[in-house]
Subunit: 283 residues, 2 copies
Amino acid sequence: MCFEHVAKVVSARYQKEGPPSVSRRNFLKTGAALAAASATGVQLTRPRIARAQEMMGEVVDLSHVFLTASPTYLPDATPARETVVTVENDGFYIQSWNFGEHTGTHVDAPGHFIAGADTIDVYPASMLVSPAAVIDISTRAAEEADAAVTVDDIMAWEAENGELPVGALVCMYSGWDQRWPDIEAFRNADADGVMHFPGFSGEAAEFLVTEREIHGIAVDTLSLDIGSSTTFDTHVTILGAGKYGVEGVANLQAIMGMSAQVIVGVPRWEGGSGGPCRLLALI
Amino acid sequence: MCFEHVAKVVSARYQKEGPPSVSRRNFLKTGAALAAASATGVQLTRPRIARAQEMMGEVVDLSHVFLTASPTYLPDATPARETVVTVENDGFYIQSWNFGEHTGTHVDAPGHFIAGADTIDVYPASMLVSPAAVIDISTRAAEEADAAVTVDDIMAWEAENGELPVGALVCMYSGWDQRWPDIEAFRNADADGVMHFPGFSGEAAEFLVTEREIHGIAVDTLSLDIGSSTTFDTHVTILGAGKYGVEGVANLQAIMGMSAQVIVGVPRWEGGSGGPCRLLALI
């Protein structure tokens, strides 16, 4: 490609001004301004626009880096990236990517298992913002890789926290994210090639879509079903009910037991069976 | 690839039970449950988890579908997708993708123009959640394709709404999103190949990074600078200050003048100069 013009413009600018430095000054200034406003009760902006500012709490990242070395369900399905242009040679920097949709922290849309069901480009955006409910099975999973979230685990969570909130994203925390990105440890395949990692049981999935009003489920492993599943009950039940899954989630222990609103930032991949996403929690 | 096993399992299930149908029942049930709770004052869940539920307002999608026919800054840089497996043949459906990072509704990270600056995988997640400020230049842009957001436009917005909120995503609404995905109309190149579409002026960018505390800027066109720019002042100023840009934004008129919190759902593309994202607003 031909970027001589951009390279020339940017290089001329650098010779004149020196390269621009990335400043963290504004981060500090922001904090100081907020502290001052808080201390003095000064109103920084008029109420209508200011409300969105006041709503902002802490942001917790529940996403892994989308690595070319990402562990994948299929061992040969790792993504690839190429440098297309660079700041040094072309004035700006761009990569290109090549990958399958079920890579990294990613979404399973209903169309992933159900012919004719919603793909991610047409899936309702309102389903992508949800109160989180994190079910901790990490102690059991440390002993038994085939551990599954059961209906009893959901009941135990509800005894502690109240009924699952309407529109919840029900998340399994198994501790598996700490194995990322070690592909052998993450897939945990036995001598026969059968993988062993935690997931939701089919019965738990059935309970969630019939007895509760969820938006979807999320796991910190490679599949909504346990790794050794041969029947994919959880995929079929969740996606068949028009719900969605998020796989390869990170850092769920950071929001455990908290009131968190989770946003599934999945690009609207055309005809997408799902695809890479940014999962963020607001606490 | 070999998916005979999955195909066999899913096909056996379908023969037994028939294909699962995607049910909208739960959507209706959710609405009814919320209405009933609201009418009777019943508390559905305990306060700690319920708070995230109460925080949820309406979700507005500010993203275009990531089309293979997406208009791009470079005319030959359109993305490609392939079907890898299908529900009919393999039991489940997956596509693969091949594209440059600056396609569709997407982010420009500081590293896009500034060598050594943050790429999107290491960029602070806290910067991705912001109060929105939408500056409307659509009337001027309809007359003049080279229209730019100026410091006067920002002053006029502030006279109406108060000072820009700390940590704002400052968005240009030019009405250009209504040309999407007509690549000729969207690029709007003249006989010499020079594109003509709106953007932020370099002075406005300078004002925003020195006089206000913003997170970033967003445009409904192909570039933070106006299409005919040969100096890329806005890119260099915004990205050089460690802020980010979002290009190819849709539907900004839906949140104009409202208190909206905008989430930039950009996957953590490894070493990414930016990349495709989901832009959602909570109002």
